[in-house]
């Protein structure tokens, strides 16, 4: 080795050695950043676990509190019922007896007042003394739901924070691993000679600069937690969403639902103004828009409803594009696309949702059937519905009865607002399937020769002994009716056949027909082949003053799963 080469080699080694020393410094910096990120991630994970525990604790505690309030409310109602009874007897009797009934009523009233003082649900704002009405839903939202939503959202935020710092820590760990390789290459360049050492040193240097770039980019990423006020507003908006869902599912005032949707939308707008990237708020806003859109559409305002739903679809599309792969997002998107009439897109979204949620094949299959029907594919639509019903029979879920009801309710209204040929058949098939699965444990109705020859609502006239002397036809029953009677003429009946009566109600000014569970009945035929029966639609305890509320009612009678007859009457 000549002197020049020796000097060059020495200079090379010195440079690499100094470079390695510098690398040690960089490595220690990355270790420090890694440790910091890892500590923050661990603390966030711990907080997430603690908030999860507190969420469950809150739910348990709130359930006990709610149970105590419910007991109190029932006792209050019971005393109120006894007071009404005393008042009725007081009015029916006179003199000494009436005075004693008055004393009893007053006594019960005092006890009831003492009881009311002890509760929360028996006092404003959860009790309206004028209407003697409890706002149990508001109590539930204030005492259980909103605090639970705050805790759960706080837990989710901490979980996301933990994942954020965890990902940073992993990036630093990877950088350190790559740096170890770089150190190896640089060290190797010190012990070998020839031009290959430059290659080693060059490769090592490239890795070092890559590591420094990645570490710097990772360090530049910062975590921004949503403001505490944003979490509170989000939780309240979640409560509004829950209220809207309950209003829609109970078929109540859609205008009120739209108001709550507006309130929730305004709250979320405030949240997004402060925290524009707050994912939970973005997703909830999509939900609010969807619900407001559905509310408007079911209310008959299809054009404005579709505008909201189109905004929601766009929001969902962006969330999915941003990498949020949530099967329920695909589900929400598919039903929203169905409302917009984007049938091909809806089918694609249903397929995505179905792939991720195979257990929900009934509800998604029914939606697919509807979309196919709207697309004009009648045969495929019917096949999809049959497949989904068969799935519901073979893989029953606790949600099935509610899914059947919700789908039928919404489809009936949807078919009024945007009629589609064939939808009425789908609805009938779904109704018969719900009865067949529940009563016959079969997907299809039984083939039967039985039929309902006639169904006529009547208003019996009684003599002084309580005997019926006349049964004139009646389409509208007076207010406070406890029993709506009807004549039913059955033919071709066989012993043991199931007869299911379902009653749907539509309150004045409402758009949905809502199944009234307490009015429905199931029995098995034990009578002759043909018969003319006097039946009635009534609450389980009409003697206890349970009347039929004002509105329209629809009676449906199923024989062995066949929807044999349907009739409508009114209570004024």
């Amino acid at each position: 080795m000549n002197l020049r080469t020796f000097a060059e080699e020495k200079a090379f080694k010195n440079v690499v050695t100094v470079f390695l020393a510098g690398l040690t410094f960089v490595g220690s910096l990355i270790v420090f950043l890694n440790v910091s990120a890892s500590y923050r991630g661990a603390a966030a994970g711990r907080d997430s676990r603690i908030l999860g525990i507190r969420y469950l604790t809150h739910l348990g505690r709130a359930s006990w509190d709610a149970a105590a309030e419910k007991r109190l409310m029932v006792a209050w109602q019971e005393l109120g019922g006894l007071m009404m009874q005393s008042e009725a007897y007081e009015k029916m009797t006179g003199g000494k007896d009436a005075s004693l009934y008055r004393l009893t009523r007053e006594r019960l009233g005092k006890v009831r007042d003492l009881l009311a003082v002890q509760g929360e649900v028996t006092k404003p704002p959860y009790f309206n003394a004028q209407a003697a009405a409890f706002d149990v839903l508001q109590y539930y939202l204030d005492k259980t739901f909103i605090p639970a939503a705050e805790l759960l959202e706080g837990q989710a935020v901490k979980k996301r924070e933990g994942a954020f710092w965890g990902s940073k820590s992993e990036a630093y760990t990877t950088a350190l691993a790559v740096m170890a390789v770089a150190v190896f290459l640089l060290t190797l360049s010190l012990v070998i000679s020839g031009k290959i050492r430059f290659v080693m040193a060059g490769a090592g240097s490239v890795l070092v600069f890559s590591v420094i770039t990645v570490a710097a980019a990772t360090a530049a990423r910062t975590w921004k937690a949503p403001a505490e006020e944003s979490v509170k507003l989000l939780s309240k908006a979640s409560a509004d969403v829950m209220r809207i869902q309950l209003i829609i599912s109970a078929g109540n005032d859609l205008a009120a639902a739209a108001r709550f949707a507006g309130q929730a939308d305004a709250a979320l707008e405030k949240v997004l103004a402060v925290d524009p990237d707050y994912e939970s708020a973005i997703l909830l806003r999509n939900r609010v828009l969807t619900l407001r859109g559905e509310t408007l559409i079911f209310g008959g305002n299809v054009e404005d409803g579709r505008k909201d739903i189109a905004r929601a679809v766009e929001g969902i599309r962006r969330a999915i594009a941003a990498g949020r792969e949530d099967a329920y997002l695909w589900w929400a998107r598919s039903s929203a696309e169905m409302f917009l009439g984007k049938n091909d897109e809806a089918l694609r979204s249903i397929a995505k949702a179905l792939a991720a949620l195979p257990d929900r094949a009934f509800a998604l299959g029914a939606l697919k059937s509807l979309v196919l029907m709207a697309r004009g594919n009648k045969a495929e639509s019917e096949a999809a519905l049959e497949a989904s019903i068969a799935f519901a029979l073979e893989h029953p879920l606790a949600s099935d009865p509610s899914d059947f009801r919700t789908i039928v309710k919404n489809l009936e209204r949807w078919n009024e607002v945007v009629p589609v040929n064939g939808t009425a058949d789908l609805i009938k098939r779904l109704k018969e399937a719900a009865v067949s699965i529940a009563v016959l444990k079969k997907a299809r109705r039984e083939t039967t020769a039985s039929e309902v020859a006639s169904l006529q609502f009547v208003s019996p006239v009684y003599d002084r002994q309580g005997e019926i002397i006349d049964v004139p036809p009646c389409e509208a029953f007076p207010r406070f009716t406890a029993r709506a009677h009807f004549f039913l003429e059955l033919k071709g009946m066989k012993k043991g056949q199931s007869i299911v009566t379902k009653v749907y109600g539509k309150a004045p000014g409402r758009v949905f027909w809502i199944e009234q569970f307490r009015l429905g009945k199931t029995r098995h035929w034990e009578g002759p082949d043909s018969a003319r029966l006097l039946g009635s639609v009534e609450n389980p305890m009409p003697e206890a003053g349970e009347i039929l509320g004002t509105g329209e009612y629809r009676l449906e009678i199923y024989i062995d799963g066949n929807l044999a007859v349907s009739g409508v009457f009114k209570v004024l």
Binding site: F25, A43, I50, T57
Partner: protein, 217 residues
């Protein structure tokens, strides 16, 4: 010749400093990881305390439900019994079967009364109220005397340990900076090598003193 000896002595000194700095850095890192481990331990204790608190609170909630409903039902039957009896004694028009009702209500009230946790029933104007807040506070205090329910002290400990560990790890950057300065002084022809060496020594001692103070405190 003397210059070469001087150079050699400096190199030896620098080598010793590099080795010393590396070993000290490793020791501090080991200590930092121990401190970080203590933080994780405090985290675990915080989670355990949260679970203990949950169990206590749920026990209190179920007991409160039971006591509240017993007290309220007792109140209803007792008030009914009292009012019926008063009216019976006062009003000669009251029929005899009211006495039966009085007895029935009294029996119902008595059955509830046997269930009451009277330590926490406050009676005002002869009417009982279950003191749910006092019940909760005292049951919680009793549970807290037996096991840790409050997570805050553990969170505080965890935070302090993590701060200490981060500081100790950050000192490593000073040690590695010192190593860098020593290496430059040893391996390059940089002028004023003693200044580079002195800067490294200052960094080394500064980091060591801070670490020792932090560890001993």
């Amino acid at each position: 010749m003397a210059e070469i000896d001087k150079q050699q002595s400096l190199k030896t000194l620098l080598s010793i400093f590099i080795a010393l700095t590396a070993v000290t850095g490793a020791l501090i890192s080991w200590r930092a990881s121990r401190v970080g481990g203590a933080a994780s331990g405090a985290d675990g204790k915080a989670v355990t305390a949260a679970l203990e608190e949950a169990a206590t609170e749920l026990g209190i909630a179920s007991e409160t439900f039971s006591n509240l409903t017993d007290t309220r039902e007792f109140l209803v039957h007792m008030e009914n019994a009292r009012a019926i009896h008063e009216e019976y004694m006062r009003n000669p028009d009251v029929p005899g079967h009211w006495l039966d009702e009085w007895q029935s209500e009294s029996i119902r009230a008595r059955a509830r009364h046997t269930q009451l946790n009277t330590d926490y029933v406050k009676t005002q104007e002869g009417r009982p109220t279950f003191e749910r807040e006092r019940f909760r506070d005292t049951v919680r205090a009793l549970a807290a005397s037996e096991k840790a329910l409050d997570i805050e002290p553990f969170l505080k400990t965890s935070e302090e340990r993590r701060r200490d560990a981060r500081l100790l790890f950050s000192l490593n950057t000073l040690f590695t900076a010192a190593i860098f300065l020593f290496t430059v002084a040893m391996k390059t022809d940089v002028r004023r090598k003693t200044i580079w060496t002195a800067a490294g020594v200052v960094l080394y001692f500064a980091a060591t003193v801070i670490a020792v103070v932090k560890i001993l405190r």
